[in-house]
Assembly symmetry: C2
């Protein structure tokens, strides 16, 4: 009878001698282990296979899966009895108390060289030996030196007792529960901020700005809330929902100009709840490529400053009608949103959109109190934010405090002296912010999320390479095509698009795309390029330099990812 | 006292010895001689100066104008007495009957080598000696070998007696009034077509497709109707307006399904008249640049398949409401337009737009019966056509016969198997027309209209070159910037935009633009590039090849014009 130890060793040697097969195994399993909103049925099946497989089912899978996937299904599906036996034969389990470690101690073990430690529910594990066997491939390293919980929250397959049993094999200690958190500096306006997912690439701590690794964006059509890019201009305020009131200025001369005040409960009960799936993108998404041409001022966003969520709230139109505005109100040209987040001088975040944009039913502008079926999180504007579908993130004001209707655009810094595009020859010595319009709806965009720049790639069994990415356009314009080239733009293949069905002119959410391209032969490295087309047949420009601008916004040039061929 | 003959000779020698000054003179005078809708005040002043200048005014202008403009103002403003004297001294005027010429005879005199003849009101003139003195420069050659009337209709400055008097000096004959027109071939479906302006570049005679020289497009914000590009898919029908009826199908089950029939008078009197300035562009505009990359199927349009007019008619929305449709009609997804023009098999031209597009008040879709304040001309859809602002020309169906509301898109050839964009690697062997959406609103576009490709250019007094062009985007997106480069795209200058004020999201008309760029030094030739940005910050792609498609549509790559430096 085979023991778990034998299984592990067999798999390990298999893996070492068959690098290509390991890649296939990972590719196959990734589709089973990612909790996909897209295809719950598939995901559920995968979980069933991984978690509840009985002997017969298991061997059935093993036979049909041949060298693909078998190892992991067995690892995650190994029966308790065998684990117990394996523990006795392959590990010396301490019967005495485990040593205590601090989080800092654990964080020092974040590489193969220093060994890889992780924590789970107060216990510390050395998973160095497991890394190569992990079905999700090297992604397990994301948790190296820290907690597993945030990642298992993303990848539902881990939530079963068999996985826990395997983990226990690697236990080396416990977290010191007496360890105290860092003392809070009450004078720091950022001291009350929420905790964030460790996988995020932090572009600025104060204010907190961070993006997920691009490949994670295309694992789910709806971005998990924890991974949704965080873009804060100011300290995130802590707001007591019971004290919260949204103030809406009345049209001149109506109801004696006393503003309309709405509580959260008013917003939830007095207006129909409207639900929409909307992609938000920061104007600075892909700024790092612009900086590579010539330095710009701004946070160094990679291609992850874009995410998609399902939002719910009251229609702004309904709220404005309630406040007394009508569609033909001549004084009403712009709608200002004032956030409750403010800087040290007491200036609140603010922005505006056109009154027409706000009022047109088909634009579906909402005051959202829910994100992905949950209460809006603090980082995304609790308790209420504006969602302006198809429009740059900066106008989707968070922690909304006040709405003002005006003949003029918002005078805020972010509306007037930021978030505007310029000719590439405009610099900080000659820039005239009044000469450009504020960015509202955004141009057509696409990016490659897999492989990542610099990745060593190998062809699959069919001699192909799988390329993945996202594509989106502003103003409700749907993505109608994504082209991919691996020969510098000489030839292009059309990618397969996936996404929710959306109405014409109301395509607020992105499309994810995927394509197997023939693996270029006899070269050591190559560049993958993608470009998208939207329903207005707008296309992306070929290069970054001619759209370079001093603020590094609006980079929608063809996305290029340079990879090297793994010849090992 | 100076005679006209002396004036002419003095000017001629001046012009010969001062090429640069002649250029300036022409540049200066062009602004005075073009009848600009844009700036009627300016235009009127120019006409007054040119036509009604008294002695004192004339000399005032002469003094202030110095070497600029003086010659022409004098030529066009020379008093009768002097002309009479000039005739006696410089020309032998035949007192006998002039020789008779046919139009064909005249057409043989269309170059300096064969001498330049023109006709006006039945008289024939040899204007070879006047060419160099013409204030409008070499544009006078547009009329060479033909009639002056169509050109004088465009350039109002000619409509005064002094110009006529000068012309009479050059009379050499009369047109043979007995000359018969070509016999009409009644079996030819194209035999009843209207006459067209001779300046148009004809891309196809049957059906008639033609475009104006690009530089003429930027002489007026509103394109003169005669110059508006002509795009016919089929023979132009002759329709008796008294018999005309527009048929609109009723929603299912309403008014016993009897269609709503509207006469021209109904359309003009029963619905409010709505007026809009709209630029129309053929999807094939700038196809010739695409053909240069690789041959495509389609008419060889240069950059003149775009024009702007002021249209008036009934709102389509009002007509559909009258027919019984409501905004929330679930069966209503598309609105089909059927033209009265038909091919030999009896198939009518047809196209469709979305029902939402048709009904949204802000989209301003109209059933137009007027173009530039006149009855719709035959070539532009008499007696009624659809104007869908911001949408490709092909959906602006002419000679409208029938409107059908449907759950499906129009099944017409032009909707389903034409006017669609494809990946550049799709060819006629593998094209699947069902895989691409029909073109509706168009992407951001711009082109250089002056100088023209291959032109020999010289710097002005300031060492600059004046570059002109147009820019437009579909979907009501306004042009917010045009960049011009004369160094291959390394540096860019921002052009000055002119145009009518338009509402946000309803910018249906183009912007004209102009820029004086520093004349590149020490080179014999260079390329001028322009690129535009619209209010969604969409930009034009850098090159044509990556957007090439087998039908040669949607070319909106940077426009490049290669010129040579005139070193004489």
């Amino acid at each position: 009878m085979l023991t778990h130890g034998h299984f592990s060793m067999t798999l390990r040697s298999l893996a070492r001698s068959h690098r290509l097969q390991r890649h296939m195994l990972n590719l196959y399993l990734r589709s089973c282990t990612v909790e996909s909103v897209f295809d719950r049925k598939h995901s559920t099946e995968a979980r069933l296979k991984a978690g509840n497989g009985k002997e017969t089912t298991k061997w059935g899978i093993a036979l049909t899966g041949a060298l693909l996937g078998i190892g992991t299904v067995l690892i995650y599906g190994v029966p308790k009895k065998r684990v117990a036996q394996a523990e006795l034969t392959t590990h010396t389990v301490a019967t005495s108390t485990f040593p205590l470690y601090s989080k800092k101690d654990v964080s020092k073990h974040a590489s193969m060289e220093s060994r890889v430690w992780v924590t789970y529910e107060g216990e510390v594990f050395d998973i160095t030996e497991f890394i190569e066997l992990h079905p999700g491939g090297s992604r397990i390293m994301l948790a190296a030196g820290g907690a597993l919980e945030p990642f298992w929250a993303l990848y539902g397959v881990h939530k079963n007792e068999h996985v826990l049993e395997i983990l226990k094999e690697y236990k080396v200690g416990e977290l010191n529960s007496a360890e105290k958190d860092e003392p809070v500096d009450e004078s720091d306006p950022y001291s009350q901020e929420p905790s964030r997912h460790p996988v995020l690439k932090v572009n600025s701590m104060k204010p907190f700005n961070a993006e997920p690794p691009p490949y994670m964006l295309t694992e789910n059509f709806i971005t998990p809330t924890d991974l949704f890019f965080k873009r804060n201009h100011l300290p995130v305020p802590r707001i007591n929902p019971n004290d919260y009131k949204l103030e809406i200025e009345r049209p001149n001369g109506k109801t004696q100009d006393k503003p309309l005040n709405l509580t959260l409960s008013d917003l939830k009960t007095k207006f129909p709840k409207h639900e929409i799936t909307v992609t938000l993108q920061c104007a600075g998404n892909r700024r790092s490529e612009m900086s590579a041409v010539k330095p710009v001022k701004g946070l160094d966003w990679n291609s992850g400053a874009i995410s998609t969520a399902h939002w719910a709230g009251a229609r702004l139109r309904d709220v404005l009608l309630e406040a007394g505005y009508t569609e033909d109100c001549s004084q009403a040209q712009h709608v200002h949103f004032e956030g409750l987040d403010r800087d040290m001088t007491g200036t609140n975040y603010g922005a505006s959109i056109s009154f027409q944009q706000a009022m047109a039913r088909e634009n579906e502008v909402i005051l959202a109190y829910e994100m992905n079926g949950q209460e809006l999180p603090q980082d995304h504007g609790f308790p209420l934010r504006v969602i302006v579908p198809g429009v740059v993130g900066a106008r989707n004001v968070k922690c909304l405090g006040k709405i003002i209707v005006s003949k003029e655009e918002s005078g805020s810094h972010w509306q007037q002296n930021d978030y505007k595009g310029f000719n590439p020859c405009v610099d900080w010595d000659n820039v005239d912010f009044a000469s450009s319009p504020s960015i509202q709806d955004l141009p057509v965009q696409s990016a490659i999320t897999e492989p990542h720049p610099g990745q060593k790639v190998t062809p699959n069994f069919e001699g192909e390479l799988t390329v993945k990415g996202y594509a989106w356009s502003g103003g409700g314009r749907e993505i109608v095509r994504v082209d991919v080239s691996v020969d510098g733009g000489k030839t292009w293949k059309v990618a397969e698009l996936t996404g929710e069905k959306q109405k014409t002119g109301q395509a607020w959410a992105w499309k994810l795309w995927q394509l197997n391209v023939p693996f270029p032969s006899n070269i050591s490295d190559f560049t993958i390029i993608c470009k998208a087309v939207d329903s207005s047949y707008n296309v992306q420009p070929d290069t970054v330099a001619p759209i370079w601008n001093l603020r590094g916004v609006l980079n929608n040039a063809w996305h290029r990812v340079h990879v090297t061929v793994d010849t090992e």
